[in-house]
Symmetry: C3
Protein backbone atom coordinates (compact mmCIF):
# COMPACT_ATOMS: atom_id res chain seq x y z
CA UNK A 1 0.00 0.00 0.00
CA UNK A 2 1.32 3.41 -0.87
CA UNK A 3 0.44 7.10 -0.85
CA UNK A 4 1.34 9.39 -3.70
CA UNK A 5 0.87 13.17 -3.41
CA UNK A 6 1.45 15.81 -6.04
CA UNK A 7 0.18 19.25 -6.97
CA UNK A 8 0.15 20.35 -10.57
CA UNK A 9 -0.21 23.80 -12.01
CA UNK A 10 -1.36 25.26 -15.30
CA UNK A 11 -2.34 28.54 -16.89
CA UNK A 12 -5.98 29.33 -17.68
CA UNK A 13 -7.40 31.82 -20.17
CA UNK A 14 -10.01 33.17 -17.74
CA UNK A 15 -13.80 32.98 -17.79
CA UNK A 16 -15.00 30.22 -18.52
CA UNK A 17 -12.01 28.15 -19.54
CA UNK A 18 -12.57 24.39 -19.24
CA UNK A 19 -9.39 22.31 -18.99
CA UNK A 20 -9.30 18.59 -19.76
CA UNK A 21 -7.37 16.93 -16.90
CA UNK A 22 -7.33 13.41 -18.40
CA UNK A 23 -3.73 13.41 -19.53
CA UNK A 24 -2.37 14.96 -16.32
CA UNK A 25 -4.32 12.62 -14.03
CA UNK A 26 -3.44 9.54 -16.12
CA UNK A 27 0.22 10.56 -15.87
CA UNK A 28 0.00 10.82 -12.08
CA UNK A 29 -1.71 7.44 -11.77
CA UNK A 30 1.01 5.91 -13.90
CA UNK A 31 3.76 7.67 -11.93
CA UNK A 32 2.25 6.51 -8.62
CA UNK A 33 2.47 2.87 -9.69
CA UNK A 34 -0.95 2.25 -8.07
CA UNK A 35 -2.93 -0.48 -9.84
CA UNK A 36 -5.87 -0.72 -7.43
CA UNK A 37 -6.90 2.29 -5.39
CA UNK A 38 -8.43 5.72 -5.49
CA UNK A 39 -7.51 9.22 -6.57
CA UNK A 40 -8.77 12.39 -4.96
CA UNK A 41 -8.26 15.80 -6.55
CA UNK A 42 -9.26 19.23 -5.34
CA UNK A 43 -8.93 22.75 -6.61
CA UNK A 44 -6.77 25.08 -4.54
CA UNK A 45 -8.69 28.36 -4.64
CA UNK A 46 -12.38 29.29 -4.51
CA UNK A 47 -13.03 30.38 -8.11
CA UNK A 48 -12.54 27.04 -9.80
CA UNK A 49 -14.34 23.69 -9.73
CA UNK A 50 -13.91 20.06 -10.74
CA UNK A 51 -16.42 17.88 -12.53
CA UNK A 52 -16.59 15.53 -15.54
CA UNK A 53 -18.04 16.14 -18.99
CA UNK A 54 -17.75 14.90 -22.56
CA UNK A 55 -14.94 17.13 -23.85
CA UNK A 56 -16.73 18.17 -27.05
CA UNK A 57 -16.68 21.87 -28.04
CA UNK A 58 -20.46 22.12 -28.45
CA UNK A 59 -21.36 20.77 -25.03
CA UNK A 60 -18.56 22.82 -23.44
CA UNK A 61 -20.18 25.96 -24.87
CA UNK A 62 -23.57 24.75 -23.68
CA UNK A 63 -22.12 24.28 -20.20
CA UNK A 64 -20.70 27.83 -20.21
CA UNK A 65 -24.11 29.21 -21.17
CA UNK A 66 -25.83 27.11 -18.52
CA UNK A 67 -23.57 28.53 -15.80
CA UNK A 68 -24.30 32.07 -17.03
CA UNK A 69 -28.03 31.31 -17.01
CA UNK A 70 -28.11 29.72 -13.56
CA UNK A 71 -25.70 32.19 -11.95
CA UNK A 72 -25.64 35.39 -14.04
CA UNK A 73 -22.71 37.75 -13.75
CA UNK A 74 -23.31 41.02 -11.89
CA UNK A 75 -26.83 40.22 -10.68
CA UNK A 76 -26.69 42.63 -7.74
CA UNK A 77 -24.52 40.43 -5.55
CA UNK A 78 -23.30 41.76 -2.17
CA UNK A 79 -19.83 40.34 -2.72
CA UNK A 80 -19.49 42.48 -5.87
CA UNK A 81 -19.18 45.56 -3.61
CA UNK A 82 -15.77 44.35 -2.43
CA UNK A 83 -14.74 42.35 -5.48
CA UNK A 84 -16.29 41.85 -8.90
CA UNK A 85 -16.35 38.08 -8.87
CA UNK A 86 -19.35 36.98 -6.79
CA UNK A 87 -20.64 34.90 -9.70
CA UNK A 88 -17.25 33.12 -9.89
CA UNK A 89 -17.50 32.04 -6.26
CA UNK A 90 -21.15 31.03 -6.53
CA UNK A 91 -20.61 28.90 -9.64
CA UNK A 92 -17.60 27.24 -7.99
CA UNK A 93 -19.55 26.42 -4.81
CA UNK A 94 -22.45 25.02 -6.84
CA UNK A 95 -20.18 22.68 -8.84
CA UNK A 96 -17.90 21.78 -5.93
CA UNK A 97 -14.11 21.72 -5.49
CA UNK A 98 -13.37 18.00 -5.44
CA UNK A 99 -13.51 14.78 -7.40
CA UNK A 100 -12.77 11.23 -6.29
CA UNK A 101 -12.17 8.46 -8.79
CA UNK A 102 -11.58 4.73 -8.65
CA UNK A 103 -8.36 3.23 -10.06
CA UNK A 104 -8.76 -0.40 -11.20
CA UNK A 105 -6.16 -2.32 -13.24
CA UNK A 106 -3.90 0.73 -13.20
CA UNK A 107 -6.46 3.00 -14.86
CA UNK A 108 -8.92 5.68 -13.79
CA UNK A 109 -12.37 4.19 -14.27
CA UNK A 110 -13.89 6.70 -16.68
CA UNK A 111 -15.91 6.34 -19.88
CA UNK A 112 -14.49 6.96 -23.34
CA UNK A 113 -16.44 10.20 -23.69
CA UNK A 114 -16.09 11.26 -20.07
CA UNK A 115 -13.29 13.65 -19.17
CA UNK A 116 -12.39 14.98 -15.72
CA UNK A 117 -12.22 18.77 -16.06
CA UNK A 118 -11.17 21.90 -14.24
CA UNK A 119 -13.71 24.67 -14.73
CA UNK A 120 -12.04 28.07 -14.44
CA UNK A 121 -14.65 30.45 -13.11
CA UNK A 122 -12.29 33.29 -12.35
CA UNK A 123 -12.83 36.55 -14.23
CA UNK A 124 -9.23 36.72 -15.45
CA UNK A 125 -6.49 34.40 -16.73
CA UNK A 126 -4.33 33.00 -13.97
CA UNK A 127 -2.20 30.16 -12.78
CA UNK A 128 -4.28 27.43 -11.10
CA UNK A 129 -3.32 24.49 -8.91
CA UNK A 130 -4.88 21.07 -8.35
CA UNK A 131 -3.83 18.94 -5.38
CA UNK A 132 -3.93 15.20 -6.01
CA UNK A 133 -3.54 12.23 -3.67
CA UNK A 134 -3.51 8.62 -4.86
CA UNK A 135 -3.73 5.72 -2.40
CA UNK A 136 -3.61 2.03 -3.23
CA UNK A 137 -1.39 -0.85 -4.15
CA UNK B 1 -4.92 -2.02 5.66
CA UNK B 2 -6.52 -3.26 2.49
CA UNK B 3 -7.84 -2.10 -0.87
CA UNK B 4 -11.01 -3.50 -2.36
CA UNK B 5 -12.05 -2.68 -5.94
CA UNK B 6 -15.18 -3.68 -7.76
CA UNK B 7 -17.40 -2.42 -10.57
CA UNK B 8 -21.08 -3.20 -10.58
CA UNK B 9 -23.57 -2.93 -13.36
CA UNK B 10 -27.32 -2.52 -13.64
CA UNK B 11 -30.04 -1.71 -16.13
CA UNK B 12 -31.78 1.68 -16.10
CA UNK B 13 -35.17 2.63 -17.52
CA UNK B 14 -33.91 5.85 -19.10
CA UNK B 15 -34.66 9.49 -18.35
CA UNK B 16 -34.72 10.26 -15.36
CA UNK B 17 -34.40 6.96 -13.55
CA UNK B 18 -33.05 7.28 -10.00
CA UNK B 19 -31.49 4.12 -8.58
CA UNK B 20 -31.02 3.55 -4.85
CA UNK B 21 -27.45 2.25 -4.38
CA UNK B 22 -27.71 1.58 -0.64
CA UNK B 23 -28.01 -2.18 -0.85
CA UNK B 24 -25.24 -2.57 -3.45
CA UNK B 25 -22.78 -0.31 -1.60
CA UNK B 26 -23.56 -1.92 1.78
CA UNK B 27 -22.89 -5.32 0.21
CA UNK B 28 -19.50 -4.17 -1.10
CA UNK B 29 -18.52 -2.69 2.27
CA UNK B 30 -19.44 -5.96 3.92
CA UNK B 31 -17.59 -8.01 1.27
CA UNK B 32 -14.46 -5.83 1.66
CA UNK B 33 -14.29 -6.57 5.36
CA UNK B 34 -13.29 -2.93 6.00
CA UNK B 35 -14.50 -1.65 9.39
CA UNK B 36 -12.82 1.75 9.35
CA UNK B 37 -12.09 3.49 6.07
CA UNK B 38 -13.56 5.22 3.08
CA UNK B 39 -15.48 4.35 -0.05
CA UNK B 40 -15.27 6.19 -3.31
CA UNK B 41 -17.69 5.58 -6.16
CA UNK B 42 -17.87 7.10 -9.61
CA UNK B 43 -20.09 6.75 -12.62
CA UNK B 44 -18.43 5.36 -15.74
CA UNK B 45 -19.97 7.45 -18.53
CA UNK B 46 -20.92 11.09 -18.90
CA UNK B 47 -24.72 10.92 -18.80
CA UNK B 48 -25.14 9.80 -15.21
CA UNK B 49 -24.40 11.29 -11.80
CA UNK B 50 -24.09 10.34 -8.15
CA UNK B 51 -25.59 12.15 -5.19
CA UNK B 52 -27.68 11.39 -2.08
CA UNK B 53 -31.37 12.01 -1.45
CA UNK B 54 -34.22 10.74 0.71
CA UNK B 55 -35.52 7.88 -1.45
CA UNK B 56 -39.19 8.90 -1.26
CA UNK B 57 -41.27 8.89 -4.46
CA UNK B 58 -42.52 12.47 -4.02
CA UNK B 59 -39.12 14.07 -3.58
CA UNK B 60 -37.69 11.92 -6.40
CA UNK B 61 -40.36 13.37 -8.72
CA UNK B 62 -39.58 16.86 -7.42
CA UNK B 63 -35.91 16.26 -8.20
CA UNK B 64 -36.72 15.17 -11.75
CA UNK B 65 -38.77 18.34 -12.27
CA UNK B 66 -36.02 20.49 -10.79
CA UNK B 67 -33.49 19.08 -13.26
CA UNK B 68 -35.89 19.75 -16.14
CA UNK B 69 -36.43 23.32 -14.87
CA UNK B 70 -32.75 24.11 -14.35
CA UNK B 71 -31.53 22.36 -17.51
CA UNK B 72 -34.45 22.05 -19.95
CA UNK B 73 -34.32 19.46 -22.71
CA UNK B 74 -33.73 20.75 -26.23
CA UNK B 75 -33.13 24.39 -25.31
CA UNK B 76 -31.13 25.18 -28.45
CA UNK B 77 -27.94 23.44 -27.33
CA UNK B 78 -25.00 23.21 -29.73
CA UNK B 79 -24.32 19.59 -28.76
CA UNK B 80 -27.84 18.65 -29.92
CA UNK B 81 -26.67 19.16 -33.52
CA UNK B 82 -24.47 16.07 -33.24
CA UNK B 83 -26.43 14.15 -30.62
CA UNK B 84 -29.77 14.76 -28.93
CA UNK B 85 -28.56 14.55 -25.37
CA UNK B 86 -26.92 17.89 -24.48
CA UNK B 87 -29.24 18.24 -21.46
CA UNK B 88 -28.12 14.78 -20.23
CA UNK B 89 -24.47 15.84 -20.22
CA UNK B 90 -25.18 19.22 -18.64
CA UNK B 91 -27.27 17.76 -15.82
CA UNK B 92 -24.59 15.13 -15.17
CA UNK B 93 -21.80 17.74 -15.01
CA UNK B 94 -23.85 19.93 -12.68
CA UNK B 95 -24.47 17.08 -10.22
CA UNK B 96 -21.02 15.52 -10.56
CA UNK B 97 -19.80 11.94 -11.18
CA UNK B 98 -18.42 10.95 -7.80
CA UNK B 99 -19.27 10.35 -4.16
CA UNK B 100 -16.97 9.64 -1.25
CA UNK B 101 -18.27 8.24 2.00
CA UNK B 102 -16.85 7.40 5.41
CA UNK B 103 -17.01 3.83 6.75
CA UNK B 104 -17.00 3.64 10.56
CA UNK B 105 -17.75 0.49 12.58
CA UNK B 106 -18.20 -1.45 9.34
CA UNK B 107 -20.98 0.80 8.07
CA UNK B 108 -21.34 3.65 5.58
CA UNK B 109 -22.05 6.75 7.64
CA UNK B 110 -25.38 7.83 6.20
CA UNK B 111 -28.64 8.97 7.75
CA UNK B 112 -31.76 6.78 7.94
CA UNK B 113 -33.50 8.85 5.29
CA UNK B 114 -30.43 9.48 3.18
CA UNK B 115 -29.76 7.17 0.25
CA UNK B 116 -26.79 7.25 -2.14
CA UNK B 117 -28.27 7.29 -5.65
CA UNK B 118 -27.34 6.98 -9.28
CA UNK B 119 -29.20 9.52 -11.40
CA UNK B 120 -29.65 8.23 -14.94
CA UNK B 121 -29.72 11.28 -17.18
CA UNK B 122 -29.41 9.39 -20.44
CA UNK B 123 -32.28 9.70 -22.90
CA UNK B 124 -32.72 5.95 -23.25
CA UNK B 125 -32.60 2.81 -21.09
CA UNK B 126 -29.15 1.27 -20.89
CA UNK B 127 -26.71 -0.70 -18.85
CA UNK B 128 -24.73 1.51 -16.44
CA UNK B 129 -21.58 0.88 -14.43
CA UNK B 130 -20.31 2.27 -11.13
CA UNK B 131 -16.66 1.83 -10.12
CA UNK B 132 -16.09 1.47 -6.39
CA UNK B 133 -12.92 1.44 -4.32
CA UNK B 134 -12.87 0.85 -0.57
CA UNK B 135 -9.72 1.44 1.49
CA UNK B 136 -9.30 0.85 5.20
CA UNK B 137 -8.79 -1.76 7.86
CA UNK C 1 -0.09 3.95 6.67
CA UNK C 2 -2.98 4.64 9.00
CA UNK C 3 -6.73 5.17 9.07
CA UNK C 4 -8.32 7.77 11.28
CA UNK C 5 -12.11 7.94 11.70
CA UNK C 6 -14.15 10.46 13.64
CA UNK C 7 -17.60 12.00 13.58
CA UNK C 8 -18.14 15.49 14.86
CA UNK C 9 -21.33 17.23 15.80
CA UNK C 10 -22.49 20.82 16.04
CA UNK C 11 -25.64 22.89 16.39
CA UNK C 12 -27.04 24.85 13.45
CA UNK C 13 -29.37 27.84 13.48
CA UNK C 14 -31.59 26.49 10.68
CA UNK C 15 -32.19 27.69 7.14
CA UNK C 16 -29.67 28.54 5.55
CA UNK C 17 -26.88 28.41 8.11
CA UNK C 18 -23.41 28.01 6.59
CA UNK C 19 -20.77 26.62 8.95
CA UNK C 20 -17.05 27.03 8.34
CA UNK C 21 -15.46 23.60 8.90
CA UNK C 22 -11.84 24.72 8.49
CA UNK C 23 -10.91 24.65 12.15
CA UNK C 24 -12.61 21.32 12.86
CA UNK C 25 -11.09 19.56 9.80
CA UNK C 26 -7.62 21.02 10.49
CA UNK C 27 -7.88 19.72 14.06
CA UNK C 28 -8.74 16.23 12.82
CA UNK C 29 -5.87 16.20 10.32
CA UNK C 30 -3.50 17.26 13.07
CA UNK C 31 -4.93 14.65 15.49
CA UNK C 32 -4.60 11.90 12.85
CA UNK C 33 -0.90 12.58 12.45
CA UNK C 34 -1.25 12.07 8.69
CA UNK C 35 1.23 14.16 6.68
CA UNK C 36 0.48 12.79 3.22
CA UNK C 37 -2.94 11.40 2.40
CA UNK C 38 -6.56 12.25 1.85
CA UNK C 39 -9.60 13.26 3.88
CA UNK C 40 -13.14 12.38 3.04
CA UNK C 41 -16.09 13.99 4.79
CA UNK C 42 -19.80 13.42 4.37
CA UNK C 43 -22.94 14.80 5.90
CA UNK C 44 -25.05 12.34 7.87
CA UNK C 45 -28.62 13.30 6.93
CA UNK C 46 -30.31 14.41 3.72
CA UNK C 47 -30.96 18.09 4.43
CA UNK C 48 -27.36 19.29 4.53
CA UNK C 49 -24.52 19.53 2.03
CA UNK C 50 -20.78 20.06 1.83
CA UNK C 51 -18.92 22.39 -0.51
CA UNK C 52 -16.24 25.10 -0.37
CA UNK C 53 -16.64 28.86 -0.58
CA UNK C 54 -14.84 32.05 0.42
CA UNK C 55 -16.21 32.55 3.93
CA UNK C 56 -17.12 36.22 3.47
CA UNK C 57 -20.52 37.44 4.71
CA UNK C 58 -21.49 39.04 1.38
CA UNK C 59 -20.89 35.99 -0.78
CA UNK C 60 -22.52 33.76 1.86
CA UNK C 61 -25.68 35.86 1.55
CA UNK C 62 -25.41 35.71 -2.24
CA UNK C 63 -25.17 31.92 -2.01
CA UNK C 64 -28.30 31.75 0.18
CA UNK C 65 -30.20 33.85 -2.36
CA UNK C 66 -28.93 31.73 -5.24
CA UNK C 67 -30.23 28.55 -3.57
CA UNK C 68 -33.63 30.22 -3.02
CA UNK C 69 -33.69 31.33 -6.67
CA UNK C 70 -32.67 27.96 -8.13
CA UNK C 71 -34.79 25.87 -5.74
CA UNK C 72 -37.55 28.08 -4.31
CA UNK C 73 -39.28 27.06 -1.08
CA UNK C 74 -42.82 25.73 -1.38
CA UNK C 75 -42.98 25.66 -5.18
CA UNK C 76 -45.73 23.02 -5.33
CA UNK C 77 -43.46 20.08 -4.48
CA UNK C 78 -45.01 16.62 -4.00
CA UNK C 79 -42.82 15.92 -0.97
CA UNK C 80 -44.33 18.96 0.78
CA UNK C 81 -47.57 16.99 1.17
CA UNK C 82 -45.88 14.69 3.68
CA UNK C 83 -43.26 17.08 5.02
CA UNK C 84 -42.62 20.77 4.46
CA UNK C 85 -38.98 20.45 3.44
CA UNK C 86 -38.86 19.36 -0.20
CA UNK C 87 -36.68 22.36 -1.05
CA UNK C 88 -34.21 21.33 1.70
CA UNK C 89 -33.77 17.88 0.16
CA UNK C 90 -33.51 19.22 -3.39
CA UNK C 91 -30.90 21.82 -2.52
CA UNK C 92 -28.90 19.19 -0.61
CA UNK C 93 -28.98 16.74 -3.54
CA UNK C 94 -27.94 19.46 -5.98
CA UNK C 95 -24.89 20.44 -3.88
CA UNK C 96 -23.99 16.90 -2.83
CA UNK C 97 -23.20 15.29 0.54
CA UNK C 98 -19.46 14.72 0.29
CA UNK C 99 -16.08 16.37 -0.05
CA UNK C 100 -12.67 14.81 -0.57
CA UNK C 101 -9.49 16.77 0.03
CA UNK C 102 -5.78 16.16 -0.38
CA UNK C 103 -3.45 16.36 2.63
CA UNK C 104 0.13 17.28 1.71
CA UNK C 105 2.85 18.24 4.23
CA UNK C 106 0.37 17.73 7.06
CA UNK C 107 -2.12 20.28 5.72
CA UNK C 108 -5.38 20.26 3.79
CA UNK C 109 -4.60 21.69 0.37
CA UNK C 110 -6.98 24.63 0.28
CA UNK C 111 -6.58 28.26 -0.75
CA UNK C 112 -6.37 31.14 1.70
CA UNK C 113 -9.86 32.35 0.77
CA UNK C 114 -11.35 28.89 0.33
CA UNK C 115 -13.21 27.35 3.26
CA UNK C 116 -14.82 23.90 3.43
CA UNK C 117 -18.39 24.46 4.62
CA UNK C 118 -21.46 22.66 5.82
CA UNK C 119 -24.61 24.13 4.31
CA UNK C 120 -27.58 23.60 6.61
CA UNK C 121 -30.61 23.36 4.38
CA UNK C 122 -32.98 22.09 7.05
CA UNK C 123 -35.96 24.28 7.88
CA UNK C 124 -35.19 24.30 11.60
CA UNK C 125 -32.18 24.49 13.94
CA UNK C 126 -30.79 21.10 14.81
CA UNK C 127 -27.77 19.09 15.73
CA UNK C 128 -25.83 17.95 12.66
CA UNK C 129 -23.10 15.35 12.21
CA UNK C 130 -20.22 15.05 9.74
CA UNK C 131 -18.37 11.73 9.33
CA UNK C 132 -14.68 12.06 8.50
CA UNK C 133 -12.08 9.51 7.47
CA UNK C 134 -8.42 10.34 6.94
CA UNK C 135 -6.03 7.84 5.33
CA UNK C 136 -2.32 8.31 4.76
CA UNK C 137 1.06 8.26 6.39
Amino acid sequence: MQVFAETFQFQTEGEIDIIDLTHELDKLVSKSGVKKGMLTANVIGSTGALTAIEFESGVLDDFRKLLEKLVPKGAGYKHDRIDSNAHSHLRASLLGPSLSLAIHDGRLQLGTWQQPVFVCLDVRPRSRRIAVTIIGE
